[in-house]
Symmetry: C2
Subunit: 297 residues, 2 copies
């Protein structure tokens, strides 16, 4: 197990922690939480979910000419993914100006569908969509070493959850096949749902933005436990890592550092703060370049 | 199994449904949801959680004389549980006037605690508190036939969840020992939590009132599945039952009817509407008096 991890301090920190946890922590309390974008799957040049949303916004712009000169429809119609990525990066740095323009369009993009129809749209997307530069389907953009880590934790009695800023119902249709994580263990952002004639339908009203302190709150809300393992990669993961690290027993906070321009991407935007805290908080940093023998399967 | 259920139409409906479900539904989709108050444990003469809250309000009234003539503190100090029960019954019948007076006091009763300290208070309560008329600890107020039903479903590959209007973090400390349901499978009402210095603390701000259509919405939010079995007993369970029954495959909606003044209580208040719908919606009604050989263990 962990065969895609190079021997060294990072791998040792993981193995040592798991040995301590299995000795000291009862199985039901071995809860592990994983961010998704940039931690389990690739988030560059833009979030995979943005591609899903942008395709829909472009469809809407094509169907309604009055939308063509308005953002976010104009950027969608032009295929300008960077405009969308910038909105989110700015958000992580405290500037929500572009995100606000984006939000209305995004929230209404898939409104009015039953949750089953929404899941079908997500499956159709993943069946055909490919990463724009890596030359592989998005469903093959999960990090092989992290998938091995999920299996390793599972083999040691851990229960793995995803807790992501990404959309709960965008991730669920693929988390079982990509990560072995079933829908009931996916925590993510969501829009409100309306109960209509026995069915649940998506609305354009935000429910949760699962980011920052909200991640910690919702881990408790969903599991009733404080995790003993947390993996993340961006500033939105700080509180989840702090919550995990503040527990009374053994714990491990793991950060994925994107420093591998050759095999994936090299960036720290949106992660400056969390990386700056790592040493002080005793979080382990996994260098994609140095710690992983391979990035993708 | 189901040894506390009399042979008859109700037990047959359960057994036949389970046979169909195990034949036609894959195990991961065998999701069963149970209301708690009045479905898994006794809710009369007042909700068990009200006793927990009223004890705290009485403590607060004793500590602060300015509260003594104000509701809900006056009722708490006088041990007037009926005042509180009425508030909730009125709510189920569309009148929130008393509930509003109650809400502020209840919401702030345990505010400012870490979730661990809150859980410790709940455990202390259940260690000593006894049902006022049944002569048994609250932890022995779970319905034996329903506990057997939980085990029967589990033995047939079902995953059981609680979805209750009661407090999520009030139920969690006892659901594993009473029902074999772990905290991550308890969905309930909640107050917001604040993330403070690595810990989560209760606030006085309501987050979810897990009742009516909200039950259906949150079953999806938590599980990402439509249940195939739902058990309830009151008007707040209607949408959860409808959501379950509207699925494409086999499903069973079960209602507990409280008609056993001798062994438990005999009442329909707060359940008139759901009982009135049962025949039309093909929900199975379990008569406590006729279908159960025993109520408590």
């Amino acid at each position: 197990m962990l065969k895609s991890w190079n021997d060294g301090a990072t791998k040792s920190a993981i193995v040592d922690f798991v040995a301590r946890a299995t000795a000291e922590v009862p199985p039901e309390e071995r809860v592990a939480v994983f961010d998704n974008d940039g931690t389990l799957w690739c988030e560059k040049p833009a979030y995979i979910q943005l591609d899903f949303l942008v395709r829909r916004l472009a469809e809407q712009a094509a169907a309604d000419p009055s939308l063509k000169d308005k953002q976010p429809y104009a950027a969608a119609a032009a295929g300008d993914l960077a405009w969308f990525g910038d909105a989110v990066t700015k958000h992580y740095n405290g500037d929500d100006s572009v995100l606000k323009i984006l939000a209305g369009g995004i929230l209404s993009a898939y409104a009015g569908l039953t949750v089953e129809d929404h899941a079908a749209r997500v499956k159709e997307f993943f069946a055909v969509a490919r990463h724009p530069t890596l030359g592989r389907p998005y469903t093959a953009c999960g990090y092989q070493p992290m998938i091995e880590l999920l299996r390793y934790l599972e083999a040691n009695g851990f229960t793995n959850y995803i807790t992501s800023g990404g959309g709960r119902d965008f991730m669920r249709p693929v988390t079982e096949s990509m990560y072995g994580i079933p829908p009931e263990r996916v925590i993510g952002s969501s829009v409100g749902l309306d109960f209509v004639d026995g069915d649940l339908k998506t609305t354009a009203t935000p429910e949760f933005l699962n980011d920052g302190p909200v991640k910690a709150v919702r881990i408790w809300g969903r599991t009733g436990r404080r995790p003993i393992f947390a993996a993340g990669n961006s500033n939105g993961d700080i509180q989840m890592l702090e919550y995990t690290s503040a527990g009374p027993g053994p714990s491990l906070g793991l950060l994925v550092r994107h420093d591998d321009a050759e095999r994936e991407f090299d960036y720290t935007a949106g992660a400056e703060k969390v990386l700056g805290l790592a040493t002080d908080r005793h979080w382990t940093v996994a260098s994609m370049r140095d710690d992983w023998t391979t990035v993708f399967d």
